[in-house]
Amino acid sequence: MSDASVFALLPNATSLPWREIPEWPADEFVQRTAAELDRGARLCSWFGVPERDGAFVRLVAVLAFDADNTLAVGRSMPVRGSYPSLTLTHPQAHLFEREVWEQHHLAPEGHPWLKPVRVSAGEAPANAEFFRVEGGEIHEVAVGPVHAGIIEPGHFRFQCAGEEVIHLEIALGYQHRGVETALAGGPHRSTMHQMETVSGDATVAHATAYATVMEALALGEAPLRAQWLRAIALEFERLANHTGDLGALAGDVAFLPTASACGKLRGDFLNLTASLCGNRFGRRIVRPFAAGPEVSDERAAQLLRDVTRALGDVEQALAWLWDAASVRSRFENVGIVHRSQAAAIGMVGPAARASGLVRDVRYDHPAGWHRFAQAPVVVWPGGDVFARARVRSLEIQRSGEFVREQLVVPPEADAPADIPMPAGDSLAVALVEGWRGEVCHVALTDADGRFRRYKITDPSFHNWPGLALAMRGTAISDFPICNKSFSLSYCGFDL
């Protein structure tokens, strides 16, 4: 299929010269992108690159042909003012086009809901008007930005008829730290550390994406030992977050045995990560071209014993959850996102897989260690809270099996090599399947190999609209379990 693509094709974790990316006038570029999406491609990222004079902007689309294991890149010729909206026919472009409009004042003509994403209005995000449902029996519920627990800030605006949510609009931007802007002209001294905190609970995923981009720009790759360690750390991250969230879901339906057990077990997985690098979130494990922290055979053996014990405990705690009819009845048929909806809005990760979409970067676009070792993709058809919880529960098993297999035979340490410099005027793409889904980093370098543009797409950027859809027709009292079943990142979205 993708052979016929007019876009430039490249595998995950590679780069190509900027000039080799085909370009079209903006309206034709939108048409061609739409045609590619109609042929089965998926929008991984869509962003603007300002021309050097600043007045004109080029649009760039990064697409994934999952079935063909290839990515595709295209760009528009410099444009200013406006261009025809892609969102009208392909809703997965919705937030991307709003972002481009906000960052480059390039208006997508005909966009159905053009408003800010995260830009500041001084001391709060410039949210603009919310969508309102009119009617005598309609009431509006506003929640946030500061929430009732220990959780990041965001604003949720519900339009309800009694208990039933007719529409939910999610307004974010409160966590906006200027991550992308600061990358211009980089990498800087703090860049690697900032990449580890794009979303602090997905440190390994974002750090791996960044390191992979740097390696791809320099036409090299990390030592095998580092690739092995990154793959293991990525699964530790997945195990910790899946376990913690399943415990929190159990807590939200007042099923305390699993809630208590998983709260502690999540910490056990974080401590496995800490035994690698000292930090529970995996800081300092991933560095471009670097081998990473030393893992002796004894430490690998100890990790294997510890992870095996923790997995056994999680299995037991989750068995109680799945055995309980009271839990199933709370999870089933709540917060449904249909397969067609999930595909239309471009959902990724466990949430997409729980709506029956088979998409997993580790399998579709293997890079690094995943070229040699893979875990089976978990898919469940329901699209409800049950399905999302079920997918994550099964992923704990598959991820656990994967880690245990890898820990048995660590690869030999490679001889240290010189670190090559990033190529100039090149574009590199790295996708990593983090625990929430596809983390996408794209870097474009200037003539000196410094960042001209760096685009980060956290899986939450694709999936927040999924939560909004899941709430339609759902009781507002079910919002906590719907929200937790997605467990999306605010700071990863806000950047």
Partner: protein, 276 residues
């Protein structure tokens, strides 16, 4: 079936809450390193290698003096320790890091000003201790945090740590709170929400800043989209450094502030200057 299963499981596992602070503190991860110290006399004249290595400009050096290390900016990446030719900056392995003022977090520097180790927090004064010592309700505000400080604060509520046994609880409304626990550098976009939340907490109230971002802006200091920490917006009573601080460090800070640690009974672990 699960009723029997869970009961048997609980019997088998027993009490999983740690004995600390009525017993010794649990060990930090082997490669964690704990707090840092600056041995001023080891600082080689004319050397500024660590200044250039630090990602958050936590280290400065004025000619003629030892380096000054601000643990409020430090993300504990160990780059300075790895760079230092003379071992002037060292890990202490100590989990205790909380301090009452910003200057208490600055080590080394001009002779006679900065000390080699940080000055740990004193307890609240008698009036506040009588109010909050056995019951402290906190509202947590994440203001640009990356979710790591939030996660390791959240973990204190799990059965292993059981924060509730100290009468400390995170509440769902600022009206129910005695104070705020703030994470993140305070983004411009959270200024209004933070101020409103703080105003809604009845007086007397306390504020605790957790993590390098909330203390100084951390990794994002200098970005126009953020402030340089919580104390640019509200007065802060306790600073808990780290990126993120280990849960034990956060718990130590909370108990220290409330005057609930008896360190004569269980002195901190022997300090070893180990390298990571």
């Amino acid at each position: 079936m699960f009723v029997v299963d869970t009961l048997l499981h609980r019997l088998k596992r027993g009490c999983e809450t740690m004995s600390y602070p009525d017993g010794p503190a649990p060990a930090l991860p082997e490669r964690h390193g704990g707090a840092l110290r600056v041995e001023a006399e080891r600082c080689v004249a004319g050397c500024a290698d660590c200044v250039a290595a630090c990602p958050t400009e936590a280290i400065t050096r004025v000619s003629g003096h030892a380096v000054a290390l601000d643990l409020g900016k430090c993300v504990f990446c160990s780059a300075c320790i790895e760079t230092c030719p003379s071992g002037a900056i060292q890990h202490t392995g100590d989990h205790r890091l909380a301090a009452r003022t910003r200057t208490d977090l600055v080590l080394g520097g001009e002779a006679g000003k900065g000390l080699e180790e940080l000055r740990l927090a004193n307890a609240l004064d008698e009036t506040l201790r009588r109010l909050f010592g056995r019951s402290l309700r906190l509202r947590q505000v994440s203001a640009g945090g990356c979710a790591a400080c939030e996660a390791d604060t959240n973990v204190l509520g799990t059965i292993g740590w059981d924060l509730g046994r100290f009468g400390i609880q995170f509440v769902a409304s600022p009206r129910h709170a005695d104070g705020l626990l703030i994470t993140g550098p305070v983004t411009r976009n959270m200024e209004l929400a933070l101020r409103k939340t703080w105003n809604a907490v009845p007086e007397p109230r306390i504020v605790i800043a957790v993590g390098a971002c909330a203390i100084s802006g951390g990794l994002f200091a200098g970005h126009p989209e953020v402030n340089q920490g919580a104390d640019t917006q509200v007065p802060v009573d306790l600073y808990i450094p780290g990126c993120p601080p280990h849960p034990l460090t956060i718990l130590d800070g909370l108990l220290r502030l409330l005057g609930r640690l008896d360190e004569r009974r269980f002195p901190p672990r022997a300090r070893t200057a180990h390298t990571v």
